[in-house]
């Protein structure tokens, strides 16, 4: 059974003459325990795919199924126990008036856990924050710390699949590496399935087993990370992406 199966997914925005197809007939499958990357420039529709799976966008056609269960317009409560999401901007994804304790406590309560106090402490330990951060407000945290809280929130319901929407692009380079390592460790410990969106081929190469390359809302190529590292891409756009990524690395070093 595959963790995520996407068949002929199209996502629309707007109505009538101004309607726009943000995603055009996307097909891909993510196996359980796999880490799958979606790569593309901004506006290529990669985040929209994640949002459609999460149920945040409901103007889509096609078929999606998660862990063998087909998805409809509305997500059942059981879905949120299996699939969670980490957002791109940690400055926007935490409620400015809620402490870390309240954020995690509310999530745990919504999922019907009873030993909430102990679980909050354990979650904070798991993401490397510790108890000292429990009663802080988001404005008392740095970007990296906020993203750790957001990861703890996503892990709170003990999901099997985590959708990662450019989880490090809003962070400093040094912090990026910490968060990526944390995500890798958590995946290894918990046997999670990741579906990760990024425009950064370095990040994807570090995190993922397989990638899908998107351009103008279409998936143009699916390939293994080994092939990507060996620069054996078939589609011209993928080669272009790899090329520019390598050049930017050379320019920096």
């Amino acid at each position: 059974m595959s963790a995520i199966e996407i068949r002929d997914l199209s996502v629309y925005f707007g109505e009538g003459a101004e309607q726009m197809r943000a995603v055009k007939s996307a097909n891909f499958t993510v196996a359980e325990g796999e880490s799958f990357g979606l790569v593309g420039e901004s506006g290529s529709g990669k985040s929209t795919v994640l949002r459609a799976i999460a149920g945040l966008v409901d103007s889509w056609t096609g078929e999606m199924s998660v862990l063998g269960t087909p998805l409809g317009r509305k997500r059942a409560p059981a879905f949120f126990k299996q699939v969670q999401m980490v957002f791109q901007d940690p400055y926007a994804s935490l409620h400015p008036r809620h402490t870390v304790d309240r954020v995690l406590g509310e999530v745990l309560k919504l999922h019907g856990f009873s030993d909430i106090d102990a679980r909050i402490d354990r979650l904070l330990d798991d993401v490397g924050l510790g108890k000292g951060f429990r009663f802080r407000y988001p404005h008392q945290l740095s970007g990296g710390q906020r993203q750790r809280v957001a990861i703890a929130r996503a892990l709170a319901p003990e999901p099997r699949i985590v959708l990662l929407d450019e989880p490090t692009s809003a962070l400093d380079v040094s912090v990026q590496a910490e968060i990526l390592n944390l995500l890798s460790d958590l995946r290894a410990e918990r046997g999670l399935t990741y579906l990760m969106v990024s425009h950064d081929l370095g990040v994807i190469g570090h995190m993922c087993d397989r990638i899908a390359v998107m351009q103008h809302g279409e998936i143009v190529e699916l390939l293994d990370v080994e092939k990507m590292r060996a620069l054996q891409a078939e589609h011209a756009y993928t080669r272009h992406l790899l090329d520019s990524s390598i050049r930017s690395v050379r320019e920096i070093s």
Partner: protein, 303 residues
């Protein structure tokens, strides 16, 4: 706990309990408000007003209703009448002090009813969108079209003159602006990632509106209410002045100005003193409202 350790506890970088985190957040707001001299001046005046209302029987030098026709229209300072006496020989100082109770009563009632109604309608309209939004906002427009004084007149005609009916009329015409503010705030909040995040935890609309949207709308409403208070006090005073609000012999400030109007050229203090009271309180609310905006504005918080 000594002063310094209490301060350290409130400013702790890593609060150890929910209560401490909340107290620290309040304390940080208080420190910011304290830095604003004008807002503090407004706050001091309002605290004095509340104290005056609470301690009215102790502060008043006379019964505010006792008439003494032999000592009518005496100037301020005459035989222990700090602010003089009115046309029926009643002590103006005592009436001002008791009038503070009425003003506070009006303020409290309106501040409870109008913003709450506006908050509920505005956030529900903003969050749900679609047909519910259209229906609720057109309903709001209808109420916005009611002229305040005319509605008050209608209420008085239907239910009899009195302070409660005046308050009811003010409240029913005061909530639409709050609903619009709350809706505008909700529209900016509802597409933010933290709302998406809680949706992904399976939270329903009721929980999202009350726990996640309200806390962010309330600050702008509090600011608006504080700034509107001056207007509400003035409207209540205006209704009193027209004889539609508080009825004689109740020492409502607007009604007192109205009574003093007849003598304003010869006995200026009868109308001026309650007028100054209204002016001071309105100004104090405005100053405090401006200060609260600096403290509470969520767009500036945390930067």
């Amino acid at each position: 706990m000594s002063d310094t350790s209490l301060r350290a506890w409130l400013l702790a970088d890593a609060p150890a309990s929910r209560a401490q985190a909340r107290a620290a957040a309040w304390y940080a707001g208080w420190l910011k408000l304290r830095g604003n001299t004008l807002a503090m001046a407004g706050l001091v005046v309002l605290v004095l007003l509340i104290l005056a209302a609470l301690l009215a029987p102790l502060l008043a030098t006379q019964d505010p209703f006792v008439q003494d026709l032999g000592a009518r229209l005496k100037p301020p300072g005459w035989e222990g009448h700090i602010f003089g006496t009115d046309s029926l020989g009643r002590d103006i100082w005592s009436r001002i002090v008791y009038g503070a109770r009425i003003s506070l009563y009006i303020v409290a009632l309106v501040a409870l009813v109008a913003p709450l109604l506006g908050l509920i309608i505005g956030t529900v309209a903003g969050y749900m969108g679609g047909i519910i939004d259209v229906a609720l906002m057109r309903f709001t427009d209808i109420f916005l079209a009611f002229p305040r004084l005319i509605l008050a007149l209608a209420f008085v005609a239907a239910l009899g003159a009195g302070i409660e009916n005046a308050v009811l009329a003010i409240s029913l015409t005061a909530w639409p602006p709050y609903a619009r503010i709350a809706r505008a705030e909700t529209l900016t909040i509802r597409n933010s990632d933290f709302i998406h995040a809680i949706k992904l935890q399976g939270a329903g609309p009721l929980r999202i509106i009350t726990r996640h949207v309200w806390p962010l709308c309330i600050s702008s409403l509090v600011i608006r209410v504080t700034l509107d208070m001056a207007g509400i006090i003035l409207t209540a005073a205006g209704l009193g002045f027209l004889g539609l609000g508080a009825q004689p012999p109740s020492p409502e400030w607007g009604a007192m100005v109205s009574e003093g109007r007849k003598y304003i050229l010869d006995y200026w203090w009868v109308a001026t003193i309650p007028g100054l009271a209204i002016f001071t309180i309105s100004l104090a609310f405005n100053l405090l409202g401006d200060g609260l905006r600096d403290v509470l504005d969520p767009k500036e918080a945390g930067q």
